[in-house]
């Protein structure tokens, strides 16, 4: 009724103070970027200096190596996270799930699978709203396979994992992780689309007619996008910092104390069974990327092979028991089994592939 008036009024309230400060915000961002860069370049030296100079630990000892590792990695990962989460936050302010749904509706199946997997990276998504989202997609006529491509890619290809891989192993590994994660999402979506799974969705999902479609997002100002991105940084870092510190501490311990090559025997290239084992152990475990990757780094450093470690990580992040339990409300067991099965096989194939080619 008075909808227009409400909107105008609401934006007027929002705009007042924000318009004034957009220049200040941009200046702040540029200044912080410069400070970030200067500090980031000094981190390794600083960590060495604190470990061997201030704390007076001897070089080459187990404790010294572990402490230096810890003091270097914690600030490094935190700084990378702030930067990348902020950037991703800005990008995400352009992609709401509503918009993603509109883009995907009416796309052909194969193209839809590819798009859905890509949009899974940039669309903000929390696994607790997986079910309403699933129904929202199905209801607007998006094929079930395409919906799955999105649901698989959204948690698996996640920005925290990308940052950590990039920071710890370089951009190549991050790129491999992202592209294989996308491939698994696309292929699984495509396979589920071929299998006529429509009847494996609980009936109530089809009976629901969504009463009103959510209001169309009003376009945000740049100032609001910056606020949104900064809020994301605070949210995510506020949530993951204990895991990161704990993870890096475990990593530092392994780094300093576990002998070189010890992991090679049980997680190395020659142990073919290590890949399925890693996936079987990883699938029911749920941890966010932040907690798992520093451990993974330490395993790699001691001779575990990249394929095995990637497979372990993907199964921990990509298949999670809590999400499966939530999805069970809307999916029949057979579809759940197909979903978990195909993703598991996909992850194992990635593991084997990298053990062979790297």
């Amino acid at each position: 009724m008075d909808n227009k008036e409400v909107c105008e009024c609401a934006t007027a309230i929002d705009k007042g103070p924000r318009e004034l400060t957009i220049r200040l915000k941009l200046a702040l961002i540029i200044a912080s970027l410069a400070a970030w860069w200067l500090l980031y370049r000094q981190l390794e030296g600083l960590a060495q200096w604190v470990t061997y100079g201030v704390l007076g630990l001897a070089r080459g000892t187990h404790l010294g190596v572990a402490v230096a590792f810890f003091l270097y990695d914690v600030p490094k990962i935190m700084m990378l996270l702030v930067l990348v989460v902020f950037g991703v936050g800005l990008v995400r302010s352009f992609f709401t799930p509503e918009r993603t749904r509109t883009i995907l509706a009416g796309k052909r199946e194969t193209l839809g699978d590819v798009l859905a997997a890509l949009l899974g990276i940039v669309t903000p998504f929390c696994s607790c709203s997986a079910v309403p989202l699933f129904i929202g997609f199905i209801e607007s006529g998006i094929p079930i396979g395409v919906t799955f491509a999105f649901l698989i890619s959204a948690p698996m290809v996640n920005e925290i994992a990308l940052v950590l891989l990039w920071g710890l192993f370089g951009w190549r590994v991050a790129f491999i992780y992202m592209s294989t994660g996308l491939a698994i999402a696309m292929v699984t979506g495509w396979i589920i689309g071929r299998l006529d799974m429509e009847r494996q969705v609980e009936d109530w999902a089809y009976q629901i007619r969504m009463a009103s479609s959510p209001q169309t997002e009003q376009s945000l100002t740049w100032s609001a996008r910056i606020d949104y991105a900064w809020q994301t940084v605070k949210d995510i870092l506020g949530k993951v910092w204990p895991y990161i510190i704990l993870g890096i501490a475990v990593g530092a311990g392994i780094h300093g104390y576990v002998p070189e090559g010890m992991m090679a025997a049980i997680m190395g290239k020659n142990a073919w069974w290590s890949v399925p084992l890693a996936v079987l152990i990883g699938a029911p475990i749920y941890s966010n990327a932040a907690g798992i990757i520093p451990v993974v780094q330490a395993l790699l450093a001691k001779g575990a092979s990249l394929g095995t470690v990637l497979a372990f990580m993907m199964s921990v992040i990509g298949i999670s028991l809590p999400e499966i339990i939530i999805l069970r409300k809307v999916l029949k067991p057979r579809l759940i089994a197909v979903f978990v099965g195909v993703v598991t096989v996909g992850i194992m194939m990635v593991g084997f592939l990298f053990n062979v080619i790297l």
């Binding site: 609401a10 709401t96 929390c126």
Partner: protein, 81 residues
């Protein structure tokens, strides 16, 4: 005025409910706040990204925790027919 906060109980939904209650208390508007946690109910309301806020059958916000100022603005303007 009837306010519904829709969400299956994730941290953001709890946060949203709390902010809504604070805003209602601060505004002095006579409003009834109801939490909807059943996933079927949420879907029926046309919300497919939680948390969602519905004021008098109108979807005001989805997929984010709104600020107290935003809610206050909705409360002030949404009250009149």
């Amino acid at each position: 005025m009837k306010i519904k906060v829709l969400g299956p109980g994730c941290p953001k939904c709890e946060q949203t409910a709390k902010i809504v209650q604070e805003a209602v208390a601060a505004s002095g508007v006579a409003a009834e706040v109801e939490k909807v946690t059943d996933i079927m109910e949420i879907a029926k309301h046309g919300i497919f990204v939680t948390p969602g806020i519905i004021i008098d059958n109108e979807v005001k916000s989805t997929g984010k925790v709104p600020t107290k100022e935003e809610i206050l603005a909705w409360l002030q303007t949404g009250g009149q027919p």
